[in-house]
């Protein structure tokens, strides 16, 4: 899937993955790739700016956690982030149903 198409929905995807469990950037990106069966293919380095932005918005929190060789920045969803996720899921659901209805009607 083209990166431009994914961009508008990246926040929803990232919040969903982090809501499952706190994770560091590498694990979040790996989960994004695995859950999408490789469909979401974008430069991995461009996901970190989105994580930083979500943290600045108060939807994620983060902190350094000791790793095997290096400290890692681990992201967790906040209460505000959980609320935003719920809202965005509903918005996405309505949007997807609408698109599906149109596509189904014209097929």
């Amino acid at each position: 899937m083209r990166a431009e198409l994914l961009k508008g929905h990246l926040d929803l995807l990232l919040l969903t993955i982090v809501s499952e469990r706190p994770a560091h950037g590498y694990a979040i990106i790996a989960a994004l790739r695995e859950h999408s069966a490789g469909a979401f293919d974008l430069p991995e380095g461009t996901v970190y700016p989105a994580l930083h932005r979500l943290e600045r918005a108060g939807l994620l929190s983060s902190g350094w956690a000791p790793g095997a060789n290096r400290s890692r920045r681990v992201y967790a969803i906040t209460a505000l982030g959980a609320e935003a996720l719920q809202e965005r899921r509903q918005t996405w659901g309505a949007f997807a149903r609408g698109v599906e209805a149109v596509l189904g009607g014209t097929a």
Partner: protein, 261 residues
């Protein structure tokens, strides 16, 4: 022995040079990028690739340093025109505040010159300047103890020079206070859109020109025996020279010159 630098090390060096902004943010980005790249390379190396090939593949998947840095700037709102405008306004506000404060300081120097060498040295009229009786009457009304129209006019001009300059200085100090508050609060995070040397370069250029002009004109007056009024120019020139020196020093500090051993 120096360990061999791999592709990831070279990549992180390039990313560091592309990133702009405060040090803490840059350091965090680099640490996260390094962790991600080394973890990816470790995974890819486990699939039978050489370590160099694994590192290169990890870098290819991560994105070019410029792409990543631009995405960080865009996501942080650093690359926006409003942000650039705000930082430009802050920098120009600093220059305005320093400029007005310098005018105020020149007012103090002009006052000192007046006390030391007489008010005529600061604000005396050129030879041949005369006033109509009505204007003289005005001057003498304000300065009845001056004794003559010329002395009253000089006292009037002197007070104007000193007071107006001091008023500009107060405005400058207020502006600098506002600038200090803003850069400590709302504008604390620097985007790096403006070069570190921006204010220093403009300040050095403006004050350098002002110092050259004012000191040049006052020197010419003194050389040609026209001391009246030379102190007004000289006081401004000396302060401009001091401000130029301060800005030039600040500019040199942005050049990151090598330190002597």
């Amino acid at each position: 022995m120096t360990p061999e630098l791999g592709p990831i090390d070279a990549y992180l060096d390039r990313l560091a040079s592309e990133l702009r902004g405060d040090g803490r943010r840059t350091r965090r980005i680099l640490l996260e990028a390094e962790d991600h790249l080394r973890e990816t390379a470790r995974q890819l190396g486990g699939e039978g690739r050489s370590w160099r090939e694994a590192e290169q593949r990890a870098i290819d998947r991560f994105g070019s340093p410029r792409t990543v840095a631009r995405r960080f700037a865009a996501e942080a709102g650093d690359a926006s025109l409003p942000r650039l405008g705000a930082e430009l306004a802050l920098a120009l506000g600093l220059l305005f505040g320093i400029g007005m404060s310098a005018i105020g300081a020149s007012g103090l120097v002009a006052g000192a010159f007046g006390a030391a060498f007489g008010k005529s040295f600061v604000a005396g009229d050129s030879n041949g300047v005369t006033y109509v009786p009505a204007r003289c009457a005005d001057f003498l009304e304000y300065y009845p103890r001056a004794g003559s129209c010329e002395a009253a006019a000089t006292a009037h001009h002197f007070d104007e020079v000193v007071r107006y300059r001091l008023a500009a200085g107060v405005l400058g100090l207020l502006t600098l206070g506002g600038w200090w508050l803003l850069q400590r609060t709302a504008m604390r995070r620097r985007s790096g859109l403006l070069s570190d040397s921006f204010s220093a370069t403009i300040g050095a250029a403006l004050f350098g020109l002002a110092a050259t002009g004012l000191l040049g004109m006052s020197s010419m007056q003194l050389l040609f025996g026209q001391a009246a009024g030379a102190g007004g120019l000289l006081s401004g020139g000396l302060i401009a020279l001091a401000a130029f020196a301060a800005f030039a020093l600040a500019f040199l500090r942005t050049l990151r010159l090598p330190l002597a051993a």
